[in-house]
Every structure is written in C-alpha cells, then in structure tokens.
Amino acid sequence: MSAITEQSKGFSKDDEVILSPTQQIIIKFKNNKLAMFGFWLFVSIVSVVVVTHFYTKFTGYDFSATHPELKNLPPSWQHPFGTDRYGRNTFVRVLEGGWISLQVGFLSTIMAVTIGVTMGAISGYFGGKIDALIMRIVEVIYSFPFLAIAYIISAIFRDRPAEFRLFVIIGILGFIRWTGLARLVRGQILSLKEQEFILAAKALGIKKRNQIMRHLIPNVMAMVVVSGTLTFANAILGEAFLSFLGLSVTEPIPTWGALLAKASSNSTSLRSFWWIWVFPGTMLFMFIMSINLIGEGLRDAIDPKAEFTTKEEKKAAKERRKAQKKAAKEGKLVSKGGAM
C-alpha cells in the first residue's frame, strides 16, 4: 500500500510540471551513466588541450624546439609522456596535437552540418527537379572513395604551408560528410511535410522561408545533433588517418596520427620507444570514445520511445522486486502447505 501511495505522489509531481522536450532530453541524458562518463571525459580532454594550447602560446613555450641532450627519454615527472628523438616533450606535443584534432573536428562538422541541413531542407521541402538534382549530387559524392580522393587533393596542395593544408583537410572532411546529413534531413522533412502542423502553417500563409526555418528545421534539430556528434568523431578519425599517412599538417606541428605513424616503421622503435605512440594513440582513442558515448546517450535521449528511469525509480524498482520475490517465495510455501 505504501508503495502505491509513494508512486502516486511521484506521478502527481510529474503531472504538475510539464517538461519541455529539451528538458526531457537533458534529464534522460543525465540519468545515463555511460553518456555522462563520455561527457566528462570529453570535457576534461578538451579543457586540458585548450589550456595547454593557450598556455604554450602565451608563455612562448616552443613545443617544436629540439633538445638533443634529452632525446628518447622514457616517461618521468619532468616529461610525463617521455621525449622523442629530438628531445621534445611528448606530453606537450600530444596535447598540441589535440588542438589540431579539435579544430578539424569542430570546423569540418560545422561545415558538414551547415551544407547538409541546407541541402537536405531544400531538397525535402521543394521536391521535384531540385530534389532530384541534389540527390544525384549526393549520390555521386557518396560514391567517392573518400580516403583515396583526400590522398590526391592533399598531394595537389603538398607544397603549401601547414596552415593552408589544415584548411584543405577541414574542407575535404566537411565536404565529404555532408551527404549523410542531407539525406537524413531530407527524409525527416519529407515525413514532417505531410503532418498537420505544416499544413496548418501553409494554410495560414506563412512564408516558405519561415516554414522551413521556424517550423521544419527545429523539428529535425535533435536528429541533426546526434548525427553531428557522429560526424565530429568521424572527422577526427579522418584527420588522424590522413596525418598517419603523412597527408595532413606536417612537422614540426604535431598531430595524433603523425605521432603514431612515427613509431610504426619498425619493431624496435615500437618496443623501445613505446611512449611515443602509446600516448597519442590512447588520447585519440579516448577522445573518439567520449564523443561516441555522448552521441549514443543523445540518441537514446531523443528517442521518445526509449525507456528511461531516474536513479530514484531504479532504486524503488529494485526494492519492489526484492519484496516481490520474497512474497512469491512465501506464497509458494503457503500454497504448497495448503495443497498438502
């Protein structure tokens, strides 16, 4: 009986407070342990990387200055990730590499999302010839062997300065990834278009631009955010791929892929100077994992069908189950006794 009254209390509380979808998403996300782990991992990696970048920038620390007397030192308090063959501090270089990854990730994701949402919305909303044209373009870009093409584009800009190459990489990654988003947004808009509230907007004579911007886009935003996290992770992975192959930003600027590549050429360096590749590899892995965990959590959070339970509810359910088992045991005993 007490459980029932407690429950009904819980519900009446819910009834009074009507949560907006965004609030619901936040609550669901906060109650997802894995997602929160990913979130804090992400926040800590990003803050360490950003702080290091600006610290070295303002103190004038030269992360590419060579110190032959300090070369190939294993990890120590002085150099937590050891030093490379030029005596450079791997710790600082790994974090500096994170700065490149962050830039590539953010900028190319923004690019992909902007192009993808715009093209998808136009395609889905207007339909007809425009739709056919955009979808054809999407199909063609989609069929391109991304890595192989990036190879050649990178080769074309081989002699340009590192800064310029960085933007080329961002451009390639952003351009390659918008197609998936465009397809997603188009599909969503196509199904939303048939729903009543858009018909109502049309009937009210709302301008096409406003129909798209105010009514359609907000409704696909949740999906876009989830897909955007995936794009982000893929962009960082893509950059690491390219820099591993020596096609991204090059020496003396460090990137995670390039740091890894250095150790891979022979088994001696793989073993003897393990700190040179293990640390950047682990950072890359943890960073991508944190983004994937966030994406996964968001996906669950925006799914209205997904079950979710708060900590309190989980606790209560556990207790109820215990009580239930107990009662069932006793009940069985009683009925057995009765049958005998």
Partner: protein, 330 residues
C-alpha cells in the same frame, strides 16, 4: 463441471516496470465450455488482452502471472514447463491477433506459415502439411487457395490476411481459439464476413472461442457468455442476453454506460451518451471501486471501499455496491 474446457481462477498478472507495478489483471475468474464463445469486452487498458496472453503464457518481458490458476482440460497451465506449454500453443489453444497486416511473417509464403504448426504438432511431412494448408485456405473461403499458398502476405488484403490467420489458428483443430480483436483493423463488411466464418467454424469443429473486443456489437453477434472488464477486473459477467437486456433488474453502471453509447435503430436520440472521464492511469488506480471516479452514482462508500464480484441472480455476477438499477441515488 465435466464439460468445462477452460477455467480461469483468481488470475493475477502484473507488469513489473521500473516506474511501478502495473496490476494489469487482478483476480479474474471465468469458465468456458467446449463449443461456446466467451466474449470479453472492455476499453483499452482493461486487461482483456493481458488475460488472453496469460492463458498462453505469451506475456512480454516485465509481465508475470503472480497468482491464480488456469485449468485447461483439467490441467493447470500456470507454472508448467515452457516445453509443455509449447506443445499446447498452436495445437490445443491457438490465437488470432488484432493486426492482420503485421501478424504474418512478411518473408515467408502463406503456405509455409500455415503448414508450420501442422508439421510441428502433427508430425506431417512438408508435402502433406502443404496440402493441408490448401484445404484450410479453402475452408476459410479464400478463392484460389492453390495459388494463394504461394503468395506472400503483402500480396493479400487485410481481410484475406485475417482469414489466413484463422486458417493458421485452426490448422491443428484446437479445442480453444482466442481471438484478440480480430476485426478491429478491418472494414465493416469484412468484419461481418469474418464473424460469419468464425460462427460457422465453431459449429463445425465444436471449438470454444474467447472473443476479445471493445465492440459490443461484435459481442452480441458472436458470444454466448460475456465478461465486462474494467482496469484489470471483471465488473459484470452474464449470458449474452442478460448483458444486453436494457430492462434487466441488475446491471453494472459501467456496462450501462457502454450500452448507452451504442445507437439503437428504433429509438430516436438527440445525442448518444458517453461515459465521462477516462480510464485511470494503471499506476494510480482509485482506492475503492475502480469505476468510482467516473460513475454517476458514486457514493462515499464507493470511493473508500472495494466491492466484490457478487452473484446477483443465477449466472449473473456484478461488482457493484448498488447492482439494482432501481435502487441508486442518481
């Protein structure tokens, strides 16, 4: 006593969700004899479907039978081994579902789906079962059964698919057929055909039927006995004529409300009555009579105390403190 095919006693089925225990079925009793049809009527959430799934032990994950007996042919099905239960499913007791459009496997041919239980339970060969499937399709009045067996579900209309479902359910000549809203998704004309088919089959094979619906009209056409369910409990049980007798001395206010919501041909009404309010949330059921929140005759007693299911006349059971229609303070 001896011709009781199925006897459900004090059935309790709960769903243990993380939000709380949903008591979907609480103390349901009924019996059914061979060749008879029991209609279970109620709104969605009244526990009528859960009752039928409990009989076949096909409850989805957090659902569990916590108390009661389901005696089928003298054997209690509650707590028997899954292996034994499987032998009964599709063989002695079979089931038709609400959605003919989605209840057939889209990637298997009709013939294969019908012959599957025949091969399983009767040990017939593929060829024999396939021929039996053709005969079954003929029996449920599907034109061109020889070619329909080779079809896939998507090639058939909703009504045809429901006939296929019936053919499949009848494949092993079950003693009991549970039909869970078999016509809800179909057009009215198709509904009538399906009802006729079910009545014919019942007569020929002497199959007992549990017919679950929210449609009182369908009940009137098919059922011998009726149980009216509300929030997991039976509120009134009686032979079909008693249930539909508007002049009856005894009646449950909920059923009255249901009856008032159907139009009568010979009566001119300005506006059909409806039961006010809605079914209470399964986790927030009223303390006293479950219907007290919506009942126009509700008293303090109704709000605070729970009525029992009482036999008010022979074979007529009602769960109400004021079962006599004449003695209520309106």
């Amino acid at each position: 006593m001896n011709n009781k095919l199925l006897e459900v006693k004090n059935l309790h089925t709960y769903f243990f969700t993380n939000k709380g225990t949903v008591k979907a079925v609480q103390g349901v009793d009924f019996t059914i004899e061979a060749g008879k049809t029991l209609g279970i009527v109620g709104e969605s959430g009244s526990g009528k479907s859960v009752t039928s799934f409990s009989i076949l032990n096909l409850l989805d994950h957090p659902g569990k039978i916590v108390d009661g007996e389901i005696n089928f042919n003298g054997k209690n099905l509650v707590g028997i081994k899954e292996q034994e239960m499987r032998h009964i499913r599709g063989n002695d007791i079979s089931m038709i579902f609400q959605e003919p459009m989605t209840s057939l496997n889209p990637v298997h041919r009709i013939g294969r789906q019908i012959s599957e239980p025949i091969m399983l339970h009767q040990g017939k060969s593929k060829k024999e079962a396939w021929d039996a499937a053709v005969e079954l399709l003929r029996e449920v009045k599907i034109p061109n059964p020889e070619s329909v067996v080779y079809n896939y579900p998507f090639q058939l209309s909703g009504g045809m698919r429901q006939r296929v479902m019936i053919a499949m359910a009848l494949a092993c000549e079950p003693k009991l057929l549970i039909a869970d809203e078999p016509t809800t998704a179909l057009d009215v004309t198709i509904q009538a055909q399906i009802f006729k088919l079910m009545n014919d089959l019942k007569r020929i094979h002497n199959t007992a039927i549990i017919f679950i619906t929210h449609d009182l009209g369908a009940i009137a056409e098919l059922a011998d006995d009726v149980a009216v369910m509300y929030t997991g409990e039976i509120v009134e049980r009686a032979p079909v004529d008693t249930i539909f007798d508007r002049e009856s001395k005894y009646s449950h206010p909920y059923k009255e409300g249901l009856l008032k919501s159907i139009p009568l041909l010979d009566e001119k009404v300005e506006r059909l009555d409806q039961i006010k309010g809605s079914v209470p949330h399964p986790l927030k059921l009223p303390k006293g009579c479950r219907f007290s929140t919506r009942c126009e005759y509700s008293t303090d007693k109704c709000v605070n105390e729970k009525p029992e299911l009482v036999e008010v006349a022979s074979g007529h059971l009602i769960r109400c403190f004021y079962p006599e229609t004449g003695c209520r303070n309106a």
